[in-house]
Amino acid sequence: MKKKILWKLMLIGVTFILAVIFFLPNTPLFLHMPDWWKKNMPAKGIVLGLDLQGGLHLVFEVEGNKAVEITTERTSSQIKELLAKKNLSADVSSDRLNISIAPSSPDIRKVVEDNYPNLVPVGSGDRLTFRISDKEAQRIRDIAADQALETIRNRIDQFGVAEPTIHRQGVNEIVVQLPGVKDPKRAIELIGKTAQLEFRLVEDEAKVAAELPQFIAQGEEEDILRQFAGKIPDDTEILFEKIVNKETGTVRKVPLLVKKQASLTGDLLSDAKVNIDSQFNNPYVSLSFNAAGAKLFEEVTAANVKRRLAISLDNTIYSAPVIQEKIAGGNAQITGQFSMEEARDLSIVLRAGALPAPMKMLQNVTVGPSLGRDSIEAGKIAGIIGTIAVVLFMIFYYRLSGLIADFALFLNIVLLLGAMASLNATLTLPGIAGIILAIGMAVDSNVLMFERIREELRVGKTPRAAVDSGYRKAFWTIFDSHVTTLITAAVLFQFGTGPIKGFAVTLSLGVTINLFTALIGTKSMFDIINSRRELKTLSI
């Protein structure tokens, strides 16, 4: 009998020490530990969730259909070139989903079908109409999501965030978690920007260009587009250059008529850097093209001297300088009214490359660092006050036995924290509620036993017999009651979002550990009391 107690005590001691070792990294004490300890012992502990340490949780949807549209457009212009090369005169056009070719000759059909196996014919008529096959469209959407993920990862790496989590969810969604970000708005812009860099010739020669107003106020863009719809040549469109008055902060827009077809795009870049011009101390972004890009840039500038070349990012023009002479060597620069940060972010997105398709934000949960701190403080206070109330009540109601239950409760809390630390579990705000709730519920097992023991004492059993049979009879009830809580916790874990998962984890761990502390912890305390001599009364 005595040996059995000793074993139990050792078990309790070892688990207690392990729990303390695992939880140590979460206490200031860890900093004072010797180096060999820091190197060889658990150093991570409990991880704070985004809601407690502050940060960003973003969900984006990659608009895969846009990627399919882009591919359709590109394929359409490729077909046009191919047919021209084969001396087949044809009119090729595309309306985002379909590519339509006239005339509908068997020669043309054969050329298209031979070279583009992924196109399927749609309907019939005097024009040949093709669209991208469903299977290929699916593949394009899939690749777009993959590429977007890769691009976002690159951008965040260069932005510099400690321990970001970036992963795909479902078919076309991307989840980005950035703990501890100081400037959430900037991070969101950096990630969400499509960053499609384009160099497009400005059509200042066109008659209608002269009719465009010099400036408009922000918000009037739609009116201009409506006013000029149908008046501008087919191969052009109107984009706007944004001009901010540095003193007043007012924003004006300059409408420019530019070619629809870009002369060069950002995928030909090899590098982008921030520089500062020596004259005005303004930051600008200098671009270097790769070999193919440099050659193309040289050709374009040579052929269009004295014309303006607009540099646009996601259809907003940054600048539209006049080409003074042929530019060889493959260098260009984007000037504009940037702050240093904006220039830096711009260079990051240009280096990391454009997203293959625009993204739509589905969810944004931003938590500031101070809220997290407040929450932890509030949780600590609530936990301490709740614990004190429970502890005092138990002593008041069950006397010495209450003290034993409080010992089990203390053990319960330490082991719970230790278990969470050993799993590197994430503590969230609802998770704190889970811990506090577990504290309130932890004494239930002891209450069940104590009430049973009291009943046994009432029918006249000796304290030792009462404790033993009380334990035995209460066991299955305790077991049942724990399982029911675990069922709901498991369901919450399965279907909950991040913070709620945290709740499920703390609650279920708390409840499981409670089984140990009540059945092993409390019982061995009673055994110790009973083992010395046969007690006449039991303080319960």
Partner: protein, 303 residues
Amino acid sequence: MIELIKKTNINFLGKRNIAFVVAGILVTIGIIAIVQIATGRANLGIDFAGGTAIQMKFEKHIALQDIRGALERGGLKDFDLQDLPTENKVLIRVKKTEQELGQISDTITNSISQNIADNPHIVDSITAIGPKVGGRLRADAAKAVVMAVIGILIYVAFRFRFIFGVAATIATFHDVLAVLGIFFLMGKEINLILVTALLTVAGYSLTDTVVVFDRIRENLKLRQRDSVEAVMNSSINEVLSRTLVTSLTTLFACISLFFFGGEVLHDFSLAMILGILAGTLSSIFIASPVVLLWGGKRLFAKK
């Protein structure tokens, strides 16, 4: 020995008609709440309905009407303001709009910064949820509730007789519906954290009921000569002090959380407090009468 209650002999089952009427009213309110939620007329949180919520902390006290004015000047129309129990904190909510997600929060922060310049603020948190995610969270919450019910039913049916399982589930449903109904009547937000609280209440209330049923089962075996009603009554009396003590300690924890746990956990702990009260009462007054009415004398047959 300090006893909350001395050895009692209360005829709990005799009061079943009163209990059923009260429970019936609570459950009806709960069902009305569910219908209102399903038809979108309840105060759904933005995690279910979609929209944007921004929590701000101001340096000095600020009147809600000042914020209202600032937001209206910034061009926002459809929004809710809420003073949080913590000092100088305000919650601004905009239900779903056609605008893009990122823009709404920008509009809010810009119009506050521009129009309330003399009382600086920091943004505590932004939660913006698009309709797609909102729908998914709603579906997940519904799935969670269904799965929890099935899990509970299976476990109790496995451990007890079927009739006990049904009664335990009815009692649990009563508690969840009662809390939901009260929240609905109070105009509180129905959100993800409330669903979490409700499921926790379900687990807790079931525990309470299981403890009572355990004792009834034990006594049914021992006292075959007494009436079922008498056995049930004395079983409930026997475990009464345990039921009350455990409810009390759990209530201590929840009340502490309610007063000191911060604004986010405020409603969560309120739901828990209501749920514990309902769960305690239902395990005493509802669960056993349901078994009695349905099962009657057949309960003595050995399993």
